[in-house]
């Protein structure tokens, strides 16, 4: 058993070695880390190599040096490089594993050996994941050193990036493997996996937008409610005063809503606005629940890659810059103010409340189902 697994491991290495793309990706990873190393931050602002980037309004007063580097690693290194560019390159490199395995003339040579089909499939699958593991490991180690030297912090939590990115890639790779088995075509597997990935991305973007709208609507409602409370208090006081002036008793007198609206027509506008907000919230909640349910059965690429940020960066460590006038003007809520920082925190809170068990558990369950299906197809098919 070990002999066969080792042989397949060596073979996978030789195959990767033969593919120039593996080394190109490695080289590009090295370049990305080199760029990280050239970026600096101090009290005056950011620098790149010998140049000061005066136009970037970030300095160590806003973001501590170590947090800056960790954020750069998670947002750019993981968020863009590893989970987008390197993942695409890895998919291109590994999409052919199963179509090539089941090509006529190739499959007979391995199926005729004393190895079970399921084990063969899963071993090949694991070898594909090794590609990404190797890429991420090299990138993370290099980043760890850069952050240690430049950020003056030796953050071992960075190594969480390895399992997180591998798990992230595995969501896509399992789909790619299944499609490769079904279509027998590398190009078809790659394109359809890309389509699947775009679908997940759209779903994630939709989810984020809906959560933001929902939280924004909640804040608008809270603000409107406080205005209503204030207006009701003032109107009631006014009504009592007027009643006293007319010599009527105000003891135990509580003005009705109709009386208050009659005295203060502006209140009706507030009530109407609140009712509209409630309708909006219901609709947003409905769609948000729908998207959330859809996401529950699908792999959560966005949330998975964000797990690293959750673990590495405490949002309180970052001092938000003051809101400028331009930002205030852009506030979409016309008559009701929404604190954008507060909104950002609430949205972040919603996503942080989604448990790691939900993010990883349901995504891995999806992967398990896809792998089971692939194994069943591979084990039962005649070649």
């Amino acid at each position: 058993m070990i002999t066969q697994t080792l042989a397949m491991l060596v073979d996978a290495y030789r195959e990767l070695n033969a593919k120039k793309l593996f080394w190109i990706t490695m080289l590009l990873s090295g370049l990305v880390v080199a760029v990280f190393a050239l970026v600096g931050i101090d009290k005056q602002g950011m620098t790149f190599a010998w140049f000061r980037l005066g136009f970037v309004p970030v300095n160590t007063d806003i973001v501590p040096r170590d947090v800056f580097y960790k954020a750069m690693f998670t947002n750019l290194g993981i968020g863009i490089w590893l989970t987008w560019v390197a993942a695409i390159l890895a998919l291109i490199s590994t999409a052919g594993i199963f179509p090539q395995l089941i090509t006529g003339g190739a499959i007979e040579t391995v199926l005729s050996k004393p190895i079970g089909r399921v084990r063969l499939f899963l071993t090949k699958y694991t070898m594909g994941l090794l590609f990404v593991t190797l890429q991420v490991a090299v990138f993370t180690v290099a980043s760890f050193i850069v952050i240690g030297i430049r950020g003056k912090t030796w953050e071992f939590g960075l190594f969480l990036a390895i399992p997180i990115v591998v798990v992230f890639f595995s969501y896509l790779f399992c789909v790619c493997a299944l499609l490769g088995l079904v279509t027998r075509s590398t190009i078809a597997a790659l394109l359809l996996t890309g389509l699947f990935w775009v679908t997940l991305f759209v779903l994630n973007a939709g989810d984020a937008a809906l959560v933001q709208f929902r939280e924004s609507t909640r804040m608008v409602m809270e603000d409107r409610q406080s205005r209503i409370d204030l207006a009701e208090r003032n109107t009631a006081r006014l009504l009592r005063t007027e009643r006293e002036k007319e010599g009527e008793s105000v003891e135990g007198y509580e003005p009705t809503r109709e009386e208050m609206v009659a005295r203060n027509p502006f209140l009706q506008r507030l009530y109407d606005g609140l009712d509209e907000d409630k309708d909006d919230l219901r609709a947003l909640q409905k769609w948000s629940t729908f998207i959330y349910s859809a996401k529950t059965i699908l792999p959560k690429t966005g949330e998975t890659s964000a797990l690293l940020e959750r673990n590495l960066i405490d949002p309180d460590e970052i001092t938000p810059p003051e809101n400028d006038e331009e930002a205030a003007d852009m506030n979409p809520t016309d008559d009701v103010n929404v604190d954008r920082d507060e909104l950002g925190k609430r949205v972040q809170e919603v996503f942080r409340e989604r448990s790691v068990a939900w993010v990883l558990g349901t995504s891995l369950a999806f992967e398990a189902v896809v792998l089971l299906l692939s194994c069943a197809i591979f084990a039962r098919r005649d070649f």
Partner: protein
């Protein structure tokens, strides 16, 4: 070990989607230590049968054993070597790496593989190419490396599907020698080939598979025993009266009759000697249905007594090609059966 079976197949059937019957109940026995040849036209089901043995295809029905274990028993494959038809070994591997990799897949320990790789590549004449990648190999060279990888696990049974495909005449001779070497090493060889002359030269027994059924099976002698004959060609006869003269000489020795029996297959319109053998005269040549030289001595004596000159006496044994052609010919219509697997069409059968 004579008599022991390396492969014992019964009722092997495979029906693909669309009711394509690749195999329709194949019974086949292959003895240990023999070279067995499976021949048949394209689409007869030869490769399907081999793939069933190697677990590449799942049979619709199969009762049988390979090396004493049920067909499909994976661990048994560690004792079997296999060269598929149209194999595609990875181009990024060298010849030595191919042998080593497939050896490892057969669970051959590393040290043993290392020792065997060089020897096997030498056996197939590929030592000088051992460290070169397959991308630069010709088809014949790939075939040789393929044979080497099939032997790396020191198999008791070797299944070779079209091993001489794309190989030049020198290479074919080398492969024949390797096959003989395998046999003398005590291995059982199952050979799947279109090249009848190749098979005839090396096989102890053959089976002819046509449209998913075994039409004939046995040693070439067994399969040809009824079809062997002697041809006695006479010289100096007037072509017009030759047949009559020869018939007169035969009649002087006494004649038999069919007594309402059908003459043997291939001897339609023939007469019968007193010994019971069929004979036929064509121009100045007498054909006698016998494989025994003693059966024609009386005829030779009679011709000589009549002062007839004998130009040649030839024992005739049909070739494997003759057997093959007979197997693929419909006995009722005399037409060659269509190639390919049989398919149910509107309840009927092609």
């Amino acid at each position: 070990m004579p008599g022991e079976l390396a492969i014992d197949l019964r009722h092997v059937a495979k029906t693909y989607k669309g009711r394509v019957h690749a195999l329709r109940g194949v019974d086949m026995r292959i003895h240990k230590g023999e070279i067995f040849g499976l021949l048949g036209p394209n689409g007869a089901g030869k490769s399907t049968l081999v793939k069933i043995l190697m677990t590449v295809i799942r049979p619709s029905k199969c009762e049988g054993t390979m090396l004493g274990h049920k067909v499909g028993h994976k661990p048994t494959l560690a004792r079997v070597g296999y060269l598929p038809e149209h194999h595609r070994f990875p181009d990024y591997l060298t010849g030595a790496q191919v042998v080593d990799f497939y050896g490892a897949m057969c669970k051959v320990p590393r040290r043993e593989r290392k020792a065997k790789t060089g020897k096997l590549l030498e056996l197939v004449g590929m030592s000088e190419w051992a460290k070169k990648k397959l991308g630069g190999y010709s088809k014949g060279m790939r075939q040789r490396v393929g044979i080497a990888q099939a032997l790396v696990n020191d198999p008791e049974l070797v299944l070779l599907d079209e091993p001489t495909d794309g190989v030049d005449p020198v290479g074919r001779r080398d492969i024949r020698n390797i096959l003989q070497q395998m046999k003398s090493d005590g291995r059982t060889v199952f050979l799947n080939s279109h090249l009848l002359s190749e098979l005839e030269m090396v096989c102890d027994r053959v089976a002819i598979l046509v449209q998913g059924t075994v039409r004939a099976q046995g040693t070439i002698d067994e399969l040809t025993v009824d079809k062997r004959r002697y041809e006695i060609e006479l010289a100096g006869l007037d072509p017009k009266g030759a047949t009559e003269r020869i018939t007169r000489v035969i009649a002087s020795l006494g004649l038999g009759s069919w007594d309402g029996q059908e003459p043997p297959a291939g001897w339609k319109g023939s007469s019968r000697l007193a010994s019971g053998h069929a004979y036929r005269v064509e121009a100045s040549t007498l054909h006698v249905q016998t494989a025994e030289p003693s059966e024609i001595q009386g005829l030779i004596d009679a011709f000589r007594r009549e002062s007839l000159q004998i130009r040649a006496i030839r024992p005739f044994r049909p070739s494997l090609e003759d057997l093959f052609m007979e197997a693929v010919t419909d006995p009722t219509t005399g037409k060659t059966l269509l190639p390919g697997a049989s398919r149910d069409l509107k309840g009927g059968r092609r």
